[in-house]
Symmetry: D2
Subunit: 373 residues, 4 copies
């Protein structure tokens, strides 16, 4: 695995550690004394603490929708949804991260399932959250009192500290994925949580939420919302717009004009319209569409990323190994692991990542195969 | 006229100037010596140089569309459009600014007229420009090679240094207003200009320009356009979206929800989607809609502002004097002059101003009647 | 004169204006009608309104200190200082700007003179102001109640809306230069002014002002001042620090290390420590030191700049013409006029300009001779 | 422990979990299936994953300098310093974080020890680092080729990707503390490391480093360094300036003027002079001085903080428990644990924290005892 440096020097494996003196009674006593005093030497741990490049404990992993959905269904049968447990959500646990429900060191991802007529009670928390809908319809999420329809292809936001609950108004169940920064909040001790009412504040089921009616007009901003907000005021990014934006990029490419991000690859980022930046301070969300037969340039990036296939089929090559992806499948790529997407058919993928954390702290870095930047 | 200060002290008129010694031969010689050396004393000029509050030379003024349009038509008959003169544009000259075609110290505003089949050749300049269409259709403006349809209610941008030309593809004339920062550029010596080809680079007449197809999807940003730009990449802000945004604000008000900027007053600002800020570094553009019978709160603001009535009728109260406004009428309000809009019917107005200059230099200030902030 | 463009096209002088139809009765009537309606055609004025590059009305000009100081002295004898006139300040009037006391379209510059024991009363205004001391001592300026010693080589700030007055505690007169953004404020109608008490709020004469004691510690910021401010909280930038910074840059150059801005040319910018940016929103202040025999690269810049010689002698080449400069001499360089400084002896110059206006509005542009950027 | 909310609702302990159905064969099979598929239910884990407020695994802990220094000395006798181990640094391991050398989830802190004549070889890494000197002198750290003297009370920076090595030019050992963001980099997989030459690039021992000579002039910025940098260009913040800044704040308080952060409490933040912000993107550094007999207001903050006593004696009250602190003692306060410093004598403390991470991601929050904000 190459490092980020143009002319990387030797790595730890090829540099002898000159700071490991011969074992002796006095040395053993020193190490015991250090241990008792809650101290640990750097020189015996440097390789682990400061590796040559990111060496994630998390591993690349694929969760098949064909496995996920039936398990969510079973939990729907066996486990009621309600106060205390709050959500019938099943977290994707990265096999490399021990017994933790973390898809990456920073991100939590779950399939959430709501049966016919069920309600998930209101609460709020410091963690930033989104939902992405791979199939189905019939649930409204109520965010700060504003009922938001959830439909296929929509991205729904509940940024930190927004009250929210969900209810299913149909006689069919619905499932979707949730994405939050729970691991980051937990590791860094930033989490706050508060219970709200058991009942939702508004059970109406409008086609458009109030935030959409106020904010979803391209290039326009309400004068009543002229102060920038930390997270996007848009609660629902509708599939209709995403699909149209991607379609237009590929049409522009057909006509010989700029628009796609690389040949055959259309992509949009969901943004906070008050700043043009990411929708929430810790989570980036994007949507990608590849033409049949195309592939993205192989790259590594600092930070973790997750893809969910929305439409079509193809594969992902992670660290040199190709794996098939079908609709609904979720795949996590840990930091600095190389990846490329390859499209069999027209291939649509939702993506989310911790990139805003990396960029705001100037830790971001990208390596494109065959180039260094 | 009240000043900005909560407890304003006396003004120049009520403070005796203790620095005006009795006339003497020696004093006259001093003043003559100063004059010869290109020097001027402050103490004899302080009232003019540093008044208690803005004392604009520009004056409030209304240009009636019923006067403007026929004069533009006449010029269409008498004056050909072409290279050298470049545009058949007639500037609105503020009566207070002497013999200058400036609507305010910072802004230029003109009615531009293009006859059937005519072409205005390509050029570019450092000045930021927009067009707003009060009536008609059939002209395409070609901005950096991208043909942009011009239709009623649309705001079209040509930010500084963009190549642009226009052509009328119909057998009817079309007129619209142009807004630029020509006076600001001229006064501060920032202007650059370059002639382009006499012929346009693209005579096609698409319904949507390429920039719209790439950028006009609410809350979405193309990954190929992820670097922020000084001016908006959107070349056309369509009436359809503006109208819908305003309609929704009033509906939300009907339903008892936030959205309008004050009771009965819907308003949007046109923005650069890469930053959420103003469309261009020197010019702010907005659209306002008032319900019949409502009025805006009376206010003063530092900086100049221009309104054009788009639909309906009403009046503006400037410095206490009410004046009737009809469709197409243009009115300029100089800095720190109080104003309020009053709607007879539903009342739609396009607005532009130099507010970004004031805000970026921390010179902005607003005084709402009955309050100080 | 070259333009900013790499391959500039023809200029107005070489492009025939095709929009000047033959004189006719109807045309004359149109023009008269336009005039009556406060309208002016663009096509007859384009050359003046939108020149190929900045064509300043202001001209390069030098004011000799040997002329300025005696005239200030005379005014000290003849004109009392006090309320109403406020300051015994004599403005440098650019010969190109008509009968206005403006050194440039944006900047006002004056020599101010305060006799033994005199007091200039307190006032405040929206205009940003600084003082730079070319010689003398013994005056304290009291800014928002904080007495600030004025000594040779010091830069003193009174940003917009700060209360300020001056008093001379010695039995000798003192003179210095004032710099303000009066023309910019006046042209753009942003000016506010308020009289304060006739007596100063504090007549003490400390060596260091309170703001210096709080803020002038390199790389440190008081926790009580952690919110950024629009203008610098530092009221006095002492010569001791400026001199030391320049000396070190030249020593670093002697030792073969980076530090100077070009060979033989040391320079610092005075900054707002809360942001690292310019001291005030509209005015940039710098200090330059050239080694004997060196010259700065010839350049043009958008915006106006003023130099005052502080020590040594040399010349400035403006638009190809060399002119001698001695201690205290002031020279203004209008926008886009080429200039280069040349040092006979070690040559120290204070500089101020309107660069923050240009940069914040994205109007800045620099052309280095032999290069385009 | 109160939460951040004004009227916090019940916490997990007082809310029954309605999502824990009776144990059954089918339920056990579901949970086993989830486990096999690398899935974990939220409803059984909510209390741990999303607690009501931060519940840090790290604990408050004090390391006595009287323990640390002798252990560092012993390691100096027993363990050579050199390539491979790189540094004779002993990390302070928070007892709550298991067997990890992390003082907090985000920060690493160590005592580093360099014997007479020893050299620590050059390397660089993505982690941001500083050193703070509690006693001694005689070591130079060479940062990107610039030798920087290390003396008592100095803060020295080696931001991410800067090459650095150290050497002791005296015949006495020297010890200091290192602070880095190793845990944050490790947890989030952002670490890069590169070995440099075994020998230092410059063995000279100047009193002042080149970066100090260029940058340490209050309120001034070299024109050659006008582009902002991610981390501070100042490599050494000298005790002389810190001490003077704190002394002046207390003198201003004596005189009845603003300056201290609260009564009897002087404090400065070390800043990046190009932005006025923190010295590095992930680490905040400050210095605090309390008058004898004073105490700081009790507060909780999101994020971890570390204090080291530099001079004097006093105590810290953490979560209601008071503990004595003497010179050199280090104490860590985990996120959202209440703390107050109390001074017996005049009490000087160096402080560092992960506050820039919290602020840049909008996760920061402070609760002052008796108030909510």
């Amino acid at each position: 695995m190459t490092t980020v440096f143009d002319n990387p020097g030797p790595d730890h494996a090829h540099v002898e550690n000159s700071m490991l003196p011969e074992d002796s009674e006095r040395l053993r006593r020193l190490y015991a004394d250090l241990d008792r005093a809650h101290l640990m030497p750097l020189w015996t741990q440097l390789d682990d603490l400061m590796p040559m490049h990111p060496t994630p404990r998390s591993v690349p992993h694929i969760w098949k929708w064909s496995t996920l959905y039936p398990l969510a269904q079973s939990s729907g049968t066996l486990v009621p949804v309600g106060r205390g447990g709050e959500r019938r959500a099943i977290g994707l646990a990265n096999p490399g991260l021990g017994n933790k429900p973390y898809i990456s060191p920073t991100l939590w991802c779950a399939i959430q399932y709501l049966g016919p007529g069920e309600t998930a009670p209101e609460h709020r928390h410091s963690q930033n959250a989104f939902r992405f809908v791979i199939e189905g319809e019939g649930v409204w999420t109520v965010v700060n009192g504003d009922p938001v329809r959830m439909s296929r292809g929509d991205l729904l936001l509940t940024p930190g500290y927004c009250w929210h609950g969900h209810h299913n108004v149909t006689d069919r169940p619905m499932a979707w994925i949730d994405g939050l920064d729970i691991p980051f909040a937990q590791t860094n001790d930033t989490t706050f949580f508060e219970f709200g009412p058991d009942e939702l504040t508004d059970y109406s089921t409008p086609e458009s939420s109030r935030n959409e009616r106020l904010w979803c007009h391209p290039g326009l901003r309400p004068l009543s919302g002229i102060h920038d907000t930390v997270a996007s005021p848009i609660g629902a990014y509708r599939w209709e717009y995403t699909d149209r934006a991607l379609t237009q990029q590929l049409l522009l490419e057909d006509e010989g004009h700029p628009g796609v991000v690389e040949p055959g690859h259309a992509a949009i980022r969901y943004i906070n319209p008050t700043t043009g930046g990411d929708v929430m301070p810790t989570i980036r969300t994007e949507f990608h569409r590849l033409r049949p037969g195309t592939a993205t340039q192989t790259r590594r990036e600092v930070g973790s990323t997750v893809f969910q296939v929305f439409e079509g089929s193809g594969s992902i090559v992670i660290d040199g190994t190709e794996q098939q992806l079908d609709i609904g499948d979720l795949v996590v790529v840990p930091s600095w692991v190389s990846w490329s997407l390859q499209a069999d058919t027209s291939f649509d993928l939702f993506r989310f990542s911790d990139a805003p954390i990396m960029e705001r702290l100037h830790l971001d870095r990208t390596h494109l195969e065959g180039t260094t930047r």
